[in-house]
Amino acid sequence: MIGNDVIDLQIPPSKNWDTSRYLNKIFLPIEQEFVFQSAEPIIYLQLFWSLKEAAYKAHQRRFDLPRTYNPLQFSTQLSSETEEKILGKVVIGSKVYHTNSIICEGHIHSIATSVPDYNYLFNLFDFKIDVKKQLLLQYSITSNIPDTELNIQKNENQIPFLYRNKLKLEIDFSLSHHGKFSAFVLALTNS
């Protein structure tokens, strides 16, 4: 299962971002400690948020859960950092999600998967675009199904699913957008 989250760094985070009232509602003490010991707390704060958000999407989709707002139940840690990628983990209850993030010019993009070696492709756009349409075009190429037969519908928990005409397809994917950025990830194998 897969989830992703993009953050446009041009959009300032909350005006309350460095107050304990704000932080205590969304980050665990250990996460706050890590963020504020980092070289750039304001960036790491948003990175940690994107990890929680990406893992939330994967978890909600995996178990078809109703929407909730419970960021403190997602415990986040980083395991390795290079210029190309930042790897980490998000734990919710007994489930672990493996994260892969990038901090680039102007944005943060994080992908969370339920297994470490998950086969997916993603595309990120730094301009206004219909990202759902882009996903459909990509899946059309991958599957050889004409894109005119494909559509996306949300279920009662607001989770999006791919359909071929009226037939629901068991394909994992995730969409995200923020500011001028949008992204999709599409699983290449089912899991």
Partner: protein
Amino acid sequence: MTEIAILEKIKKIVTPYVQRKEGLEDFNDSTDFISDLKINSANLVDVILDVEDEFNIEIDNTSMDGMLTAGDAKRIILNKLDS
């Protein structure tokens, strides 16, 4: 405070964070902060902090969990004001 007055105050609180302004036109109990108003999930905390300040209440994490619509927020506020 009447329920209508509470709803009006919630509308005022969320307005700065709303990215889909049309969603405010018919603001009612079922208005969804994320799907109707497109409030960024990271800004939901700001909404909660502003609600705490405006009504002088504390919203615990369990209440925060279920605060997805204007109606949810109203019920949580009414409960806290009663207790």
